[in-house]
Subunit: 427 residues, 2 copies
């Protein structure tokens, strides 16, 4: 008695533009709109699975090519979906800049970022078809809610562009502004730990912001992430000043050897989503003890099974694991929450940009309580698509070609035409 | 809309004794009967899941204790089942002897050997309940059959015990006998690669047997496994003589540093199921490059998810993976085949003792074609319990307390009362 699962009959790719606040980072500022790609996997049983990933042109092209290979595959063939097109590793760029905040971009990283959305969509379809949540297909949840940290950003009150998207989070350009933002996060979702996106202001100002947070929220775990923008000297100085105040530093410098030396000299735990971004990058980093906590991102690690693989490697090699975030919507938050629920030793609150996103393609937005998202227990990812909302955001994508590729440097240039991508290291 | 999966309402533990041929190894000889434990997980939906593991007293005791903790758990909670009782690591023995051919035995290894049977049984129940094969719950098969090697043993024609179990495999005590046995394996299941259990006869005789196999089956991958019974000097000599003839040597010596030196000096690939037998043992072995191929055993690694975790670690660290076997029946062969089917880079034929077992608790025995087992596609593991057969084997367990713990030294002493466990190294 053999079992026939539904097969994949089609793939719908819908690029969209979503409103994004003027959040500042190492490279520049977020655009008023940022691209995402919504994936729908259609099946012979009528069930549709949802996935989401980066929406820049390079991802759209690869998604269009790989989606053809999905047709006819069984929705039970998740490992095969995740392996589609594996192998290519040519370099696309060689410097972490603009949308390259995830490190060196290779064609294989683009591939894994695309197949991860397919993998999530196939898991969603399989879960819906079988009537079980995705976490059951990953061995089952070991917790019923997943904690996220409040992700603080230096930001402007508004975009320097006529008619751009707006938000109600106010400006935050100094310690008082960051503390006020954290209070707003607390009111929004009860967050119990905070991460500050650094690399924006001179380090002494960011140190002051962290100290202000520590004074305002005694005992709350705090993190600082300058996206590799500090020199070794700066990183050493920050590490010394914030030792004992901070839970970990994330990507303080851009090089493996620097991170290893920094940890050796200061003992401060170092996290990364820039130096270790794929399986090939694990061994060199662990061998040198350059990284103590890996921030996984199911989008670029290749999916939910790949995230579980990474968790097993981190556990075995005595490294911490947490979850990284790039601008994302609720489909991805559901996927992140589903997989995080199944990892036994998730020692740190995960990252999410979700509170910054005022738009979504879901019929119901996720809420945070005590900084946590309840693990969805409905079939599949546990979320439903709002087609009208998606159609509106796709219309925007069609109408605004200038935002179809995320470019934080170009966005900054709209405020300051003389602006250039910062030298490395920036500080 | 939340999903309620059936919960576990009971666990049946049935120790059995199965006929085992007089297979020789480093320690002595297999007993006429060897203990196994059959696990049945009962659920609120009526579905029953099957598992199998070691049946010695120490496992039975732990299984009885841990099985109580299963009651009330959801059959979707596989990760939680695999984590039951995790943490204890006290030493049970400190020398690889008798039934300790899997290396140093700790309470945590006994725990993982027990929870693996629970995990498999819960996967079987979940698969049956959802109507999908277990491999679908592991991300899906990437192949439709799994290759096993023909597992050759020096053996006597019969046990030195009145009224013991018998077999029709003849004696094999020299190269001609081993070649004849290999031919029989070929006729039995079309095996295309062979592994010889070594550490029995002086190394020059085992080298001669390997050479005879190479002459008889040109190009067939061959392996030799003396269970760590050789000195460094002997291992070096064998490695030099068999370089180019053998696919890999398995556990030629007992120590990590020796293996590392052996590989450094001879470049011969080394496999192990004795030095790396749990996640804590991976890092020291990989750091020293003492092991190039890890032979996983879902029984003692802690289950099918743990086997996939190990596969991810091996892939990331550039190590080969294959599957180890200890005397087992069809429930475990099904479990091994289900998980092996989902591992993308399974580069070596797996090991199995199954052809040596004339008895089983299944309604239908597995067959080998071209050395391969077809991946079951029926719900769950894809096997059904023959309760009458299990009851008979359980009656034997009750009737023959002298065989309830595997002891290859004691079995040898029945033929030679002066026999003692060999010194280490034996050769």
């Amino acid at each position: 008695m053999s079992v026939a699962l539904p097969s994949i009959t089609g793939v719908r790719l819908t690029p969209i533009l979503i409103a994004d606040p003027p959040l500042l980072n190492l490279s520049g500022v977020h655009q008023p709109y940022t691209p995402r790609l919504i994936v729908e996997v259609l099946t012979s049983a009528g069930v549709i699975g949802l996935g989401e990933t980066y929406g820049d042109a390079v991802y759209l092209e690869r998604a269009a090519a790989l989606s053809r290979e999905l047709i006819g595959m069984s929705i039970g063939a998740v490992n095969a979906v995740a392996g589609l097109g594996r192998g290519a590793d040519a370099l696309l760029n060689d410097a972490p800049a603009a949308s390259g905040l995830r490190g060196v971009l290779t064609t294989d990283k683009v591939r894994s970022s695309v197949v991860s959305a397919f993998e999530v969509a196939v898991f969603d379809a399989l879960g819906r078809h079988l009537g079980v949540p995705v976490h059951t297909l990953l061995g089952g949840a070991v917790r019923d809610r997943v904690e996220y940290s409040g992700y603080l950003f230096y930001k402007w009150a508004e975009h320097p562009v006529e008619g751009a998207s707006s938000d109600d989070w106010d400006a935050a350009l100094d310690p008082a502004g960051i503390v006020a933002q954290a209070r707003k996060f607390l009111a929004y979702g009860g967050f119990r730990s905070f991460k500050l996106k650094g690399g924006v202001l001179p380090p002494e100002q960011e140190i002051a912001a962290i100290r202000a947070l520590a004074a305002e929220f005694p005992g709350a775990p705090l993190r600082l992430d300058p996206n590799g923008g500090w020199s070794m000297r700066t990183a050493l100085q920050v590490a010394e000043e914030l030792a004992g105040t901070i839970e970990y530093l994330e990507d303080p410098t851009a090089g493996l050897d620097d991170l290893a030396e920094l940890h050796r000299r200061t003992a401060i735990p170092l996290a990364t989503n820039m130096i270790v971004t794929c399986f090939d990058e694990i061994r060199p980093a662990f061998d040198r003890d350059a990284v103590q906590i890996v921030l996984s991102d199911h989008h670029f690690w290749g999916g939910l099974l790949a995230t579980r693989d990474l968790a097993a490697i981190c556990r075995t090699y005595g490294r911490g694991l947490s979850i990284h975030s790039n601008t994302h919507l609720g489909i991805s938050l559901a996927a992140m929450t589903q997989v995080a629920a199944t990892v036994p030793d998730l020692d740190y609150a995960c990252d999410t940009h979700y509170p910054w996103q005022s738009e979504d393609v879901l019929t119901e937005r996720f809420r945070f309580t005590d900084g946590c998202v309840a693990v969805p227990d409905a079939p599949g990812l546990g979320v439903d698509l709002d087609r009208a909302a998606m159609a509106r955001l796709h219309e925007r994508w069609k109408a605004l070609p200038e935002y179809r590729n995320r470019d934080d440097v170009a966005a900054m240039r709209r405020a300051d035409p003389a602006y250039r991508a910062p030298a490395a290291p920036k500080f």
